[in-house]
């Protein structure tokens, strides 16, 4: 589909795109860029790319597909650097978790004749770096594209097909709506996971050792999400402030109402709310967005003694 793909950033998402694109035979050559020498070395060692460059401008020369896969806080500088070197007719896209800020930061630097279409694959794990990627990451997940009205129809169709062949379903929406949807399905969940882990770590009456030992009661699930890349997530919150603050306001309001129900021993309200929450879980499983296996199909994680039994 493309002769030369340039990945600006080869962390979890960039390296997974490399694996999935090679699995499906979608690209002739893949090159990459990273400011970090160790990352450049590792990406070449792993065979994720034919060549890594320190300067993204070098990576995009001759590329007909350029994908920004670095933290969104870097996009403006990257766009400025690569703008003058983009090939006519090339498609430039990204995988950032916010879209209004990305359109704001990138679009002005993309020259006429180059097609910029912002995107966001809703997929990931808590791991990061070039070793974290795998070809199946996008299978059955959704990729949202936010092309805007002025986007070139052929370029959009081609990018949609690219994501489908990486394993994704594709949905088109406006950057504004994307940022609102993701604020509730991804940004707020990460924020409250980070928050409860920090709350737990700073209690006086419960030690960190106890928090860890007895984490199987539910807390451990939050620690996984809270192990996600800090810089990536810092940039998400700095760049989707309004939608996140709106969702956080709703969350806090609802939490106050639950708090009140607990304080006044209102069992009926608690049971009703808890019962309603089950319907959404059923929807998630029905939509193939999570495994139906209990506990995510997580294996028993007993210590050596138990495992040997």
């Amino acid at each position: 589909m493309f002769k030369r793909l340039a990945l600006i950033g080869v962390g979890l998402i960039g390296s997974s795109i490399s694996h999935a694109a090679r699995r499906a035979g979608l690209v002739g050559e893949i090159v990459g860029a990273s400011p970090t020498p160790a990352t450049r070395e590792r990406a070449e060692e792993l065979g994720l790319v034919a060549k890594m460059y320190a300067d993204p401008a070098d990576a995009v020369r001759g590329a007909d597909l350029v994908i920004l896969c670095s933290p969104v806080g870097t996009y403006e500088a990257v766009a400025k650097a690569i703008g003058p070197h983009l090939q006519q007719g090339a498609i430039v896209t990204d995988v950032g978790s916010v879209k209004c800020a990305v359109v704001r930061d990138v679009a002005p630097h993309v020259p006429e004749g180059v097609h910029f279409i912002a995107g966001h694959p809703i997929a990931g794990t808590e791991q990061s770096g070039p070793d974290a990627g795998f070809a199946e990451l996008f299978d059955g997940r959704w990729c949202i594209l936010t092309p805007g009205d002025a986007a070139d129809k052929d370029a959009l169709a081609k990018l949609q097909e690219f994501w489908r062949r990486l394993g994704s379903e594709v949905e088109i929406m406006s950057p504004e709506h994307h940022d609102m949807v993701l604020a509730i399905t991804s940004h707020l969940p990460h924020l409250i996971a980070y928050n409860i882990v920090n709350t737990a770590a700073h209690l006086e009456r419960v030690t960190d050792t106890e928090v860890i030992k007895f984490s199987a009661g539910g807390f451990r699930d939050f620690t996984r999400i809270a192990a996600s890349d800090p810089v990536m997530w810092r940039d998400v919150f700095l760049n989707n402030k309004d939608a996140v603050l709106e969702m956080l306001g709703r969350f806090s309001e609802d939490l106050s109402s639950l708090q009140r129900a607990i304080r006044f021993g209102d069992g009926e309200t608690l049971e009703k709310l808890f019962t309603e929450a089950r319907a959404i879980r059923r929807g998630v499983i029905h939509a193939n967005q999570d495994t139906p296996q209990p506990d995510f199909g997580r294996r028993a994680t007993g210590d050596a003694k138990v495992t040997q039994r």
Copy 2:
């Protein structure tokens, strides 16, 4: 170890105790009690028990180990009903998620010569009912016992050994400390999971379908916990009010501070907090309380089309 084990309640935990006790050959006979005819029938069909009774008083006759495995809101009535029928020298214990309220509700009804030692295995899945149990549930997990100072040493030693042979590690603490520890490692995580699922379900600007479709961004993890048994959890919050409200207060305070950092674009504070949260995840994995595999080792859950590839 015991001649006759009576399980009062055969949901996820009761049925898992049956499986694990039979795996290790710990008991001669297992009987059970449930007020629900369908549960009694199913438990016998599954071979979890030799016989199910409607009245817990019938189940405890001749039992040398009695384990309360019903929602904690039922304990007082159960204790009253079984008290007069408990065998001298028997051990009575439970698996409830709160301990002060359990000691308060159960202890007064346990006759002299019967050993009551409250307990709580920190293990579970989001599933419930007699079909949900499995022998490995307790492997490598912790079981907390809160015997109090007056407990019989031999009975305590025997119960500890029973839990170890079910696969657990055992920790002893006071009911008060248990309730504080679990408020942060289990009760608050469930409360905020229930809360975010309800927040997401009642937005005007994002549809339920969108919440579900794009849930792989983090939200889906919370739906799993929020699929837990509503009655069991209602009873937990009604019976651990003070500790939960204290932890919730801390959580909200910390969340306000994060909210402020987002509002004022304080990236340094965000990155610092997010980085600190990673250390706790490492602790959880090091303590064998979660799998080190990315995404809980969750398999790709693509739709049929993708799976066939």
